[in-house]
Assembly symmetry: C2
Homo-oligomer: 315 residues x 2
């Protein structure tokens, strides 16, 4: 067992659409959470200034500044450290973030897609530790994913691999954002879950647990035995199992890590995913496969970013 | 341009269910095709004797025996050189082929799944040359596949990756061999193509081009303008495009190589695949993707096996 106090420090920054969370990290441990920064209403230059200041504050008690890793929600060139564009933040078109910050701080600064950073954290220190091939999927408003293959983050030829939420479970099914019929996210994203749950409650003539009918509401209702909520989780498990079966036939991984809010449904959801997946795959590839919830929680991104920064900084 | 005469020799053996084809290979060139061996009606031991003899004959004019690669249709442990079982040949349960033949021949002998061997050949010397990430699919009675990721054959955790024919395009669709509903092979394998074509001809009240209605028959009919045959190819292209879209969202490869008999439909099929794929994916991942027919033909397996044998024999 490595003593985490002997590990090198790095700064990991989880760059969200409304909240940028910098943290000083050592191994799998977040030593200090820095103050959050809201990128909305700031220019990219202003946000970069605030990030630089936050990094300096986090490293104030260290002998020197340490490598920095930043996970961003959008289209990121991790090889050259350039943000092509962000999903929910304007003004971040073709910004050479790594160059700008590394020139100011004189330390390596690496960028990564946020789903990749979280997956790397889970693979190195979390639910996918000690595996060779891991698939990570995050279930929230959007459904994202990332792949660790042969012990390395697999990014694909245009750095766009791992978009598991856009794979289709029905070639003539619900429409996704790219015209992709049967798009998984159109079934198991937070909004479609609410919409279909509300419809199911109406149809059953049972009052919904709330007007929003969020995944959390549905978990609560299902725990009280509500057949409508239980049925929704079963459907979602069936659909996720179908999508996972495709991933498994293609990649034959050791583990599928499921993160995000929907994963909190836990035992209401996971057995249905496993039943569906088993009914759709051969025993050779499903007998040793594990489907597990993510374990690093909200810190996965920062931990993964810090680890990627240290890996990149190695001579 | 490398002069192929300066490249080292290797023996590549394409082990088919009724015909084992050994060849002496140099780079992408088959120097000599050896006599074929029929494994049916022979024990594994007898077949191994025949293979040993064939290898010695192929190398008779060389200064010494050369490394041997064997591609087999079935479940093969390529790391340890053991055949767990073959798809259409009995008596090949847990046979340590590499050990047996390398002890007799005193040269390295490697085994590989046949789809992997073909893909490796196409990646090194054929339709996927000079790419980093290539997906290969073979359309025949069965639908097989293989992945080259980051310049290496990707085999998966139980050496069972790349089973593209078993991925689903419809979670409630046609049943595949493992209970996998919507199994691609149940739509675009040779037998389902014939069955659905015959049904379409009946429904249209048009005589089918033959009682078998093979892919080749359908290609001939479509070239003469038959609307039923043209429609079948369009449907197959749509379905393949849906399956390819999933692969592309997951892996973001440079190229998808399509081999096997169905690929011979050429321009009757490929534009429909591309239309379907484009309608289901984002431009970031489809704009630089190429979908191309395999180019090494029947020699792909032998060429790939020989190249894998040489790669494994390197000190």
């Amino acid at each position: 067992m490595t003593d985490s106090h002997s590990l090198p420090h790095a700064v990991g920054i989880d760059f969200g659409g409304t909240s940028i969370k910098p943290a000083l990290v050592q191994g799998k441990t977040v030593i200090t959470h820095g103050a959050t920064i809201n990128p909305q209403g700031r220019t990219a230059a202003q946000t970069l200034d605030a990030m630089e200041a936050a990094i300096r504050v986090l490293c104030a008690d260290l002998p020197s500044l340490v490598p920095v890793g930043i996970g961003l929600p959008g289209f990121v060139d991790s090889e050259n450290g350039v943000v092509h564009g962000l999903s929910n933040v304007t003004g971040w078109t073709e910004v050479p973030v790594s160059q700008i910050l590394s020139e100011r701080l004189k330390v390596p600064v690496i960028l990564e897609n946020d789903a990749n950073a979280m997956a790397y954290g889970e693979w190195l220190y979390g639910a996918a530790a000690n595996t060779r091939n891991a698939v990570c999927i995050t279930l929230g408003t959007g459904v994202g994913g990332a792949l660790i293959l042969e012990g390395k983050l697999y990014r694909g030829s245009q750095l766009a691999a791992g978009e598991l939420g856009h794979t289709s479970i029905d070639l003539n099914g619900r429409m996704g954002p790219y015209g992709n019929k049967g798009c998984l996210e159109a079934y198991v994203g937070n909004h479609p879950i609410s919409t279909r749950a509300l419809a199911a409650y109406r149809e059953a003539g049972i009052p919904a647990p709330s007007t929003e009918c969020t995944p959390l509401d549905l978990t609560g209702a299902a725990r009280k035995g509500c057949p409508v909520a239980l049925g929704i989780w079963k459907s979602i498990g069936n659909e996720l199992g179908a999508a996972f079966a495709n991933i498994v036939w293609i990649l034959n991984p050791d583990v599928i890590v499921v993160g995000g809010g929907v994963a909190k449904a836990g035992d209401l959801l996971f057995p249905h995913i496993e039943d569906s997946l088993k009914s759709r795959t051969s025993s050779v590839i499903n007998s040793q496969l594990r489907i597990v919830p993510a374990t690093l929680g909200n810190d996965a991104g920062a931990i993964g970013c810090a680890a990627l920064a240290l890996a990149a900084a190695k001579p």
